[in-house]
Subunit: 345 residues, 2 copies
C-alpha cells in the first residue's frame, strides 16, 4: 500500500462523502490527482478493490468505499483540522449561560448536536447516583405532596414529587429541608439513599415522616440510578440519499426509537477504553438495520468520574472530521457544565 494508493483512497472517500455517487477513475484523475492518468488510477483502484477498500455497485459504475476504507480514512487519512474558534466559543457560551434542570441540559445538548450537524444526535446521561448534593428542599404542593428539589454542587437541579405526611405544614417541611441539607451536603445521591434509612431509624419517629423518607429513597433510586438516552433530529435521516424512500428509513427509525437497544450498543462501546471519541462504521455497529450508518460517539464526564456519551448517527458517508470536532467540542462543554465548572478549561 503505497503513498499513491492512500491518496487515491482518500480521494474516493472524500468525493463519495461529497457526492454520494460512485467515483470513477477519470473523476479522480481530474479532480484530485491531476498528474496521474485515469488508466493508472484504474489499475490502482483495481488493487484497492482486491484489498477490500472499495467495490463497484456494478461493473460499469465507479467505486464506492467500503467500511474498511472509512475505517482507514478516519484512523489515518482524515485531515482533522480544528474547528474555527468562533463556533467553539459559541458552543461553550451556549452551555455556560444556563444552569438548569438536568433534563433541559440533556435536551439542549441533543438539539445543538443535531442542529450543528444536520444528523441524528443522541445523548446518554448516566445515572446521577454520584452527583454531590448541595442542598435539599421540600416544597409543599398539595395536601400530602411535596416537590423535592435537589441542587447538586454543579448547580444542576433534580426534582421529584414525593408523598409527605399531611400533618406537615410549610414550616415543618422547611425544618426538615434544613435538617436534610445539613446532613447530606457533600454526599452523593447514592450515599443519601443509604443514609436515609439510618436517618429514619434515629429521628423522632413520626411514622408518616418515616414512610415519606422511605418512599423518597426509593424514588431517588428509580429516577437517578438508571441511565437514560435522548435522541434528537430523527427526521434528519430523510436527508440521507440512502433513505429517500420511507420504506428504507423505517427499520432505522424503529431502531432509533428502541432506547433499550441503543443503550445496549452504547454500553458495549463504552467499555472500550482509550480515545475520547470513537466511530463505528456500518457493520461495526453490530446493528444490522444500521449497516449504512455510522455512529460517532464522544464521552463526557458527570461529577467525579461518571461517564456519559453523546453521539451522532449519520450515513457511513458523513464528514467525519467535522462531526468528530463538533462532538469533542460539545462533549467538553457538557463536561464543564456537569462538573460544576470545577475542572477542565
Amino acid at each position: 500500500m503505497n503513498e499513491r494508493k492512500r491518496r487515491i483512497l482518500q480521494a474516493v472517500v472524500e468525493d463519495y462523502i461529497l457526492t454520494a455517487m460512485p467515483v470513477g477513475s477519470r473523476t479522480i484523475s481530474r479532480k484530485y490527482l491531476r498528474d496521474v492518468s485515469s488508466a493508472t488510477i484504474r489499475n490502482e483502484m483495481s488493487d484497492l478493490e482486491e484489498l477490500g477498500y472499495m467495490m463497484q455497485p456494478h461493473v460499469s459504475a465507479g467505486r464506492v468505499p467500503s467500511a474498511k476504507a472509512y475505517r482507514l480514512y478516519v484512523d489515518i487519512l482524515m485531515d482533522s483540522g480544528l474547528t474555527p474558534i468562533k463556533e467553539d466559543e459559541a458552543a461553550k457560551d451556549y452551555f455556560l449561560q444556563r444552569v438548569s434542570h438536568l433534563e433541559d441540559v440533556v435536551a439542549s445538548t441533543a438539539q445543538v448536536l443535531s442542529d450543528f450537524t444536520h444528523y441524528v444526535s443522541l445523548v446518554m446521561m448516566p445515572g446521577q447516583a454520584n452527583l454531590r448534593i448541595a442542598t435539599l428542599h421540600l416544597v409543599p404542593v398539595s395536601r400530602a405532596m411535596a416537590l423535592l428539589v435537589i441542587v447538586t454542587d454543579g448547580g444542576i437541579i433534580r426534582d421529584t414529587m414525593v408523598h409527605v405526611a399531611d400533618s406537615l405544614d410549610t414550616d415543618a417541611l422547611y425544618a426538615i429541608s434544613r435538617m436534610l441539607t445539613e446532613r447530606f451536603t457533600g454526599k452523593t445521591l447514592k450515599e443519601v439513599r443509604q443514609k436515609l434509612r439510618e436517618f429514619a431509624a434515629s429521628a423522632p419517629a413520626d411514622p408518616q415522616v418515616l414512610q415519606g423518607i422511605a418512599e423518597l429513597s426509593d424514588q431517588m433510586d428509580r429516577e437517578n440510578a438508571t441511565d437514560t438516552i435522548t435522541v434528537s433530529g430523527t427526521h434528519n435521516i430523510l436527508n440521507f440519499p440512502e433513505y429517500q424512500e420511507a420504506e428504507k428509513a423505517r427499520p432505522v427509525l424503529s431502531v432509533l426509537e428502541d432506547r433499550e437497544r441503543l443503550m445496549q450498543f452504547i454500553k458495549a462501546v463504552d467499555t472500550r477504553d482509550g480515545a475520547d471519541v470513537a466511530v463505528h462504521i456500518g457493520p461495526e455497529t453490530g446493528i444490522p438495520e444500521m449497516e449504512d450508518c455510522s455512529v460517532a460517539l464522544a464521552e463526557y464526564t458527570v461529577g467525579q468520574g461518571h461517564r456519559g456519551a453523546i453521539g451522532i448517527i449519520g450515513p457511513t458517508r458523513m464528514p467525519y472530521a467535522r462531526v468528530l470536532n463538533t462532538l469533542r467540542l460539545v462533549g467538553d462543554a457538557l463536561s464543564l457544565v456537569l462538573t460544576g465548572g470545577k475542572q477542565a478549561e
Copy 2:
C-alpha cells in the same frame, strides 16, 4: 341528493380511508350495497362527481373522495360512536395520576395523542398568565441564583431561575417566600406581575431584593405570557402512503417545525367559536403544503376560561370518528388536570 347517494358517498369515503386506493363501482356494489348493481352505482357516482364530492385520478380508475366529501362525511355521515369505556378510563387515569410540571403534562399529552392515533399530534398551551397561585418558593441554587417554584392551585408547577442578592441566605429566602406566598395566594400570575412592583415600592428597600423582584416579574412575563406549541410523533407521517417518498414529506415536515406558522393557524381556528372539536380538511387548513392533510383540533380549558388546543394532523383520509373521539377524550382529561380537578367529570 338522495339517501342512496349518501350511502354511496359514505361507502367511498370509508373504503378510501381503509385502503387508500381509488374506489370502483364494483367494490361498492359488493362490499357496501349488495342489493344494487355496479351499473347503478356508476350512474350515481357520476352524479356525485359532478356535484364535486369525488374525482377520478384518471379515467379508468375508481373515485377518490374530495375535501367536500370528507366535510360532509364528518359533519353528517360519520358514525361517531363512543369510544369503548376502557380506553376512556385509561386516558383519564393516566393524567390524573400525575400532578407535575407543566412541561411534562404538555409533553405527555402530545405523546399520548400520537401513540393512540399513530398520527402527528400537537398541543397548544396558552400563556399561563391567569393560573392562580397557591404558593411561591425560592430555593437557593448558587450564590446569586435561586429557583423560583410556583405552585398553582391545580397542583401544576412552574419554575424558573432568578437572580437574587447574594447577601440572601436560605433563611432569608425562606422568609421572602413566605411573604410572597402570603401576599399572592389566589392571585393570577398576571396580577402578580403588577403587584410585584407595588410590593417593591412598599417593602424594606434593599436594592438587591428590589432588582431581583423586578427581574422575576419580567421573567414571569416572558415565560408565561406567550402561548407555546409542542409537536409529537412527527415521524408518523412516513406511514401515510401519500408521503412514502421523503421528497414529498419534506415540505410538510418543515411546516410542522415552523411553530410560528402552526400557531398562526391555530389562532385563526380558535376564534371560530362553537363546537368543542373542529376538523380542517385539506385546503381548508389554508396551508398549501398540507393540502393532503387534515387537522383535527379540540379545545381544552386551563384555569378559569383560558383555552388551549390539542390536535391531530393526519392524511385527509384519516379515520375521523376515532381521531375525534380520542381528541375529545384527551381534551377532557387535560382540562380536568389543568383546572385542578375542580370542574367537569
